[in-house]
Symmetry: C2
Subunit: 301 residues, 2 copies
């Protein structure tokens, strides 16, 4: 059997990115365009794909697709496979289709868990497998709009929880009374105010819905500078997320931070202020995950 010539397309809401791999599993070429699924009208995904990477395709090509292209608003909606999930489950559960010219398409699934609470991810699992070794037991945190805490066991994605930390921060700042006392222009990062917020979130007290309000009342009572209020709010929210991870028992080992370096740095500061240790994962976990996927043998299409 000749080696398949594999292409991977990471097709999100705003951007189209494609990776061509050589036979050694290294990235031979990358293309990127602002042709996210929101820019594609009338379901014309195949035409966009061919316009971007049609010249990469030959008889031995197969294309793996990941990202929002596999969601309800994408080309083909794939199911969620249930955790614990192994890396090759991703490929083996891909939903297959073909281009009109016959090229096989593999739309990758998301991952879900149902107990004790329902949770889903779609895309982050690639980063997780990109960041860990083949048989690793670990706790990963992928900070962001919807931050993910992930436990791996023997190299499988064993369990995870989503926290709405990033989206809640942005929304409270933009749309509630809390933002009104904050300067429009972000100043330099106020580390002390941030860390105070992280620690306040660990004390329990009246809980997050009260703590949030103290970023306003603190300013009104001159206990907090207006310039420090946004970083206090950030500390309270990231601190509440970490309190959740601790309550789950998932902070029992050094935490691997995966994602945007600036944001990961903020999480590391928060974790270390609580005497938890953290280290940074690979710079490009998605590409690393794709590289491993490209090398993987899977079911024939």
């Amino acid at each position: 059997m000749t080696a398949r010539h594999r292409l991977i397309v990471d097709w999100g809401t705003s951007n189209f990115r494609a990776f061509r791999f050589d036979e050694a599993g290294e990235v031979a070429e990358t293309r990127q365009a602002p042709r996210g699924i929101l820019t594609v009208e009338g379901g014309g995904f195949e035409a966009v794909l061919l316009a971007q990477i049609g010249d990469w395709i030959d008889e031995s090509t197969e294309i793996l697709l990941s990202g929002m292209i596999t969601s309800r608003n994408g080309w083909l909606e794939t199911p969620y496979i249930e955790a614990p999930a192994r890396f090759d489950d991703l490929r083996n559960s891909a939903v297959t289709s073909r281009l009109a010219q016959g090229t096989p398409l593999l739309f990758l699934p998301g991952v879900c868990t149902r107990h004790p609470t329902p949770d889903v991810m779609r895309g982050e699992e690639i980063q997780v497998f990109g960041a860990i070794g083949p048989n690793e037991d670990s706790t990963l945190v992928l900070p962001g709009t919807h931050s993910k805490w992930v436990r791996t066991k023997g190299g499988a994605l064993a369990d995870f929880r989503t926290f709405m930390t990033g989206e809640v921060f942005a929304t409270l700042k933009a749309h509630t009374i809390l933002g009104r006392l904050m300067p429009q222009e972000a100043g330099p990062f106020d580390e002390a105010s941030f860390v105070t917020g992280v620690k306040q979130a660990q004390t329990g007290g009246a809980g997050l819905l009260h703590d949030l309000f103290t970023t306003r009342s603190g300013v009104l009572l001159s206990q907090l500078a207006p310039e420090a209020a946004a970083d206090r709010l950030s500390g309270l929210l990231i601190g509440a997320e970490i309190a959740g991870g601790i309550a789950l028992g998932w902070a029992d080992r050094p935490i691997l931070l995966v994602g945007d370096p600036a944001l990961c740095g903020r999480y590391r500061l928060a974790l270390e202020s609580l005497d938890l240790s953290a280290h940074l994962g690979p710079a490009q976990p998605t590409v690393e995950g794709f590289r491993k996927l490209a090398m993987l043998e899977g079911k024939a299409v």
Copy 2:
């Protein structure tokens, strides 16, 4: 000394309301107009006041002013007095001024606390004193945009905490991914979904920032009907607020609910689902508080 002829003006962001009291302390007349402070340009508050209730004023009149008119954006910003605060402290700490024609004005203060966390209220204290007896030890909850939990001791407002429950609910529904799976039109109240949310918030687990996301992931995994998601979210938030009150040790007695009857009913249901007892306060706590204020003897102006 002849009895003062007292008028009370409740002047908020959107509305102007005025109460004229007779000598027995009963409401003799009420006027209301959509002339909140946001509608008053160039600081012309005196002209608006005279246009609304100029005919009520005689030589013996004094006017107490409450609401956002006493805030930074109002006519005269009053300070916060510190809890524990007695009812007559409100009047005695009023900031005095006069109309051009000489009529005394008393701008009422807000109430604050600084430890263990900063907190403020401006207006709710009137409802609290309107709702309780003269020497009462009680826990009151005033649900709303910024829900207040209040402890009174011997009739004084001893301590309180603000929870951003109402504003966070509205903002998450309007501006985050959680709202996208919810039907635009609110259906009938889904009591079972609400109560499940209240109870989920008591279990700890990964905490509120995760629980919020389950109102989306639950729908994606068909564990929650889209029509039930908004009431689940409401239950999670009100449940988190109550968990805060329990953690403070303030749910150790029946809780007096003060405010909008429909919202108070929802809180009563939540409290009772956790085997806590609750009862409803007076229908018009602000008017009741004003009535008591109008009767109060205080410092001369």
